[in-house]
Amino acid sequence: MEGIGLKIFGAFLTAILAFTVGMFYGGLRRKITARVQNRVGPPVYQNFIDLMKLQGKQTNIAHGFMGHMAPMWIIIAAMTVLMFIPILHNGLWFDNLTFKGDLIFILYMMVFGSLGMALGAGQSGNPNSAIGVTRGLSLMVGYEIPFVLSLVAIMIQFHTTSLQDLMNYQYQTGRWIILDNPFAFLAALMSSLGMFRYSPFDIVGAPAELASGPVSEFGGKYLGTMMTGGSVFAFIKLVLIVDIFLGGAGNVHMSGLAGTLIGLGELLLKTFLLYMIPVFIGLVSPRFRTEQAIRFFWKWPTFFGILAVIWAVLHPVGS
């Protein structure tokens, strides 16, 4: 029973960590955007205040059953994926369900949140939502192909679909997978630009054009829940790429609390540096049209993805 209690505690801790880090990175992004535009900008904890206010708003409208379910669906999907992602390699509390999930399952579950949002936005009946959902699904068709290609390359190269095995390999050899298959990393990084949906790929929630797209009929608690889910998802994407390509975190040869804390610091450093790539690209980019975005993803990232698969066949690692 003590094992189960520890697991539940670990799950809560993971959820809180993902929520805090995701929201904090969102606030940091707003602050950095402001500084780049020569503004003072909101405080870095602004997103937490926004969330508090949104949860405190009344909601006296109903858009039907799926309208209520969509935010829940997003947050459930986010939490489910989070439980299957190894946060640290040998942390104290963060090995939730990592040994049971593999990359294919994670790929499937990550689409789940977008699906829920699509259904909820569809029931609200707002034409902007419908256009936003269409654009979102089109964009997903775009970036999923290079992303899947990159992961398939890794699976071929290492003969495993388990994230934990990949992390163990990097831990034991001390060699990051970005060195074993740089093209897969490039493809995954470029498709992550589309996943974050910052400029130039902010075609889904384009504020001036679509009135924030799928969420245009959702306010108050719904918007707050969606914001939470989105922040957790941002953290998940970052941790996933760090786990697969950048050696993961928590590789220090220390056990106990100190090792966990150092591992967390390593994780924050790596994810933050990785997060800055889409943020800075977004800062200097205008918005693509839908077909331009999809054409981009089917051109260079897919090319690198195919190259990664060929590379993986030519240079197999492990048995």
Binding site: R39, M52, G220
Partner: protein, 217 residues
């Protein structure tokens, strides 16, 4: 030949005292920010935290009527940077907290503004820009603009000027933040309570009235 002063007065139509008193009752705004205090004794801590959050996170729906809309970009962008107060643009009425009425309202526009205001979720605030929303401004005798906005919508903060500069806009926002912290802002409840009075006024100026009969607020 001496004219009877009384008959002269009556011909140009100055209202009698009784009519003036009736008009004052009819036209005085029902919901105003002054003197309305929340019940502060219940859930003090929750209220304080929520008011703090509401104060520092204002999602603004800028309804670009009239000339004041041109002051919004200046307020939001680098030079005056309203985002440091937590003021941020919202795309739709459902997500917004503050409705900005940035100038004169023609009766056609008023209809849309009312629909937008009624789609916003509580607690909701209205900031009115410029003298046009206070007394009609330079359009005081126009045949199709309204003169005083708070006969048709409850207004929290007026910003005087023609047009107000971004400094005064930010001052208006700070005033709204003070009102929120004191529990004096947000008239959505009062609007619903006095809906008949507001509807009567609105129907006087809006000619083709085709609002839905019932709302789910």
């Amino acid at each position: 030949m001496t004219k009877n002063p009384n008959t002269k007065i009556k011909t140009i139509g100055i209202p009698s005292e009784e009519e003036i008193r009736q008009a004052q009752i009819d036209f005085s705004p029902r919901c105003s920010s002054a003197g309305r205090v929340n019940d502060k004794e219940t859930q003090k801590m929750v209220r304080y935290i929520l008011d703090f959050a509401r104060k520092h996170s204002l999602f603004v729906l800028a309804y670009g009527t009239g000339c004041g809309a041109i002051e919004i970009p200046a307020t939001m962008t680098s030079r005056y940077d309203a985002e440091r107060f937590g003021i941020r643009g919202a795309a739709t009425p459902r997500q917004a907290d503050v409705l900005l009425i940035t100038g004169y309202l023609s009766t056609k526009t008023l209809k849309r503004v009312i629909r937008v205001y009624e789609q916003m979720q509580d607690p909701k605030y209205v900031i009115a820009f410029g003298s046009c929303t206070i007394n009609g401004g330079m359009y005081f005798d126009s045949y199709n603009t309204i003169n005083a906005l708070d006969r048709y919508l409850p207004v929290d903060v007026y910003i005087a000027g023609c047009m107000p500069r971004p400094e005064s806009v930010i001052k208006g926002f700070v005033k709204l933040q003070e009102l929120i912290q004191n529990g004096n802002a947000g008239n959505g409840e009062c609007y619903r309570k006095n809906l008949d009075w507001y509807r009567e006024n609105q129907q006087k100026v809006i000619k083709n009235w085709n609002f839905p009969d019932e709302y789910n607020w």
